[in-house]
Symmetry: C2
């Protein structure tokens, strides 16, 4: 019961000769002869009729030929799939991303990756940290971007450990000209809180420092916050990544005690990633150009 024997049988019939089939397949005549004999013995059937001018199908052989050929074809297709996977010549790559990564990093990365591996289809699933964690667990994505450390026990890669949390102010704010924004002053102005999913890093910052700002609004939309700040409704804190290209009249200031968001990649197992995904990880270096 082996695919080699099937191929030997098929080829012998197609070339009408065991000897020719052996040459084509790189076996000896004896080898192919034995393979077919073994099939016949194993199945208790006569598959081919031998003559001194070659071989041809018996009635039973004829009945099985198509089905055996079909199996060989499917095997050929499988081999092609495998080759493609190894060459990154095909495949689907699913990645979990959150909005700032999708907006500011992925365009650069994907432009280069797609250029080198045009046949890899990429599917981006946009969500918050919690959703992305779920997708990784369930295998809905090959890997995902997360804020590190992640509560789940994933394998992780740190990519951008120093995504500074910046205070954003309207242009005419009293502290618009200070060098670094003093932590304590956060309590003195209305505050607009960015809150996405459970992993609200900014809430944690306040917990750790014991600061209690006057939270007037909470929202999950980065751009809504910037717009509100621009209009003088309050101040806020956003990761620097989000502020890469600011379309608003606002000012971003460092805090006097710096806080960072650590952005990384998480997956169930780096070892088990498909080749196309491993390659993708190498392209993360191009995120800013």
């Amino acid at each position: 019961m082996s695919l080699q024997k099937y191929q030997a049988f098929i080829t012998s019939i197609e070339y009408g000769s065991i000897t020719k089939a052996a040459n084509v397949l790189g076996y000896t005549q004896s080898g192919v002869s034995r393979m077919i004999l073994e099939l016949e013995k194993e199945w208790n059937l006569s598959l081919i009729k031998r003559s001194k001018s070659g071989v041809f199908l018996t009635s039973d052989g004829h009945k099985l030929f198509d089905q055996i050929k079909r199996i060989c074809n499917e095997q050929q297709i499988l081999k092609q799939y495998i080759e493609d996977l190894n060459d990154c010549q095909s495949g689907l790559l699913r990645i979990g991303v959150f909005s700032s990564v999708a907006t500011h990093w992925l365009p650069n990365i994907m432009k280069r990756y797609k250029n080198d591996f045009p046949n890899i289809q990429i599917e981006l699933l946009l969500g918050d940290y919690t959703e992305i964690e779920e997708w990784i667990l369930e295998g809905r994505v090959d890997f995902g971007f997360l804020r590190l450390p992640s509560p789940q026990k994933f394998e992780t890669l740190s990519i951008e450990p120093n995504d500074r949390l910046m205070v954003i102010l309207p242009k005419d704010h009293p502290l618009a000209d200070c060098e670094k924004f003093p932590m304590q002053k956060l309590e003195e102005y209305p505050f607009i809180l960015l809150e996405k999913g459970v992993n609200a890093e900014i809430s944690r910052l306040f917990e750790q420092t014991g600061i209690h700002p006057q939270i007037n609004f909470k929202t999950w939309d980065d751009y809504a916050i910037m717009s509100m700040v621009e209009n003088g409704l309050g101040i806020s804190i956003l990761p620097e990544l989000i502020l890469s290209r600011i379309p608003y009249q606002i000012i971003a200031k460092e805090l006097d005690t710096p806080f960072y968001r650590n952005i990384g990649i998480a997956m169930r197992s780096q070892e088990n990633l498909p080749k196309s995904a491993k390659k993708f990880l190498e392209y993360l270096a191009y995120r800013n150009c």
Copy 2:
């Protein structure tokens, strides 16, 4: 590259456990574990993720699963075909027959055969000796009925070596009461010649005996001949088999020097016949009951 390994992989995934798959397939846990490892090594891919609570697909494994499963399914179908062929539980039996066999023998044979092997589909190809020979050569039929000896070098089985050639006369013929019809008298009456294909046994009879009848008609239709004889248009010679059930008012007489038609079965190789056909040959004994 073997189907056992494919099955091991598929089953492990379907049961979510290598150990369970091993039990189901009748291997040891170690055996199945190694099979999958060998596939992964051979393909340079990671197919499954192992854990202490079982196994599940990696991304690459997922991409190949369906195709591998498809191959296993096709293999299953093949196995079924083979089993059916061995049990005569399915299959197509093609038989070349000439008209008198089809009319007088096959109904009895087929009734019994079909009763014992209801799932074998039988295809009867009706033709003359020459056509049947061609069909056997080309493999269009598994075997065929022929008059023996056959000019082709087939393997043959004699079934009815003594199909007497009988003179047929109208009821009111002058020799209607004779015991055996004298050869020489054949020249004295108009003769209607049965001539089918090239192997006209009756023409050969005349050649061998040097008798030259007055041939008024030639036709290939047995019943047309009987009808013409009945209407006094002449006399003829027909094999006894054709006369089994005579629907005409005619008389059949033996010749004073007896001639026989030898009816048999011919095939390329009895050894290579499908089981269903071999079985059929055993049922030839039932041709007259």
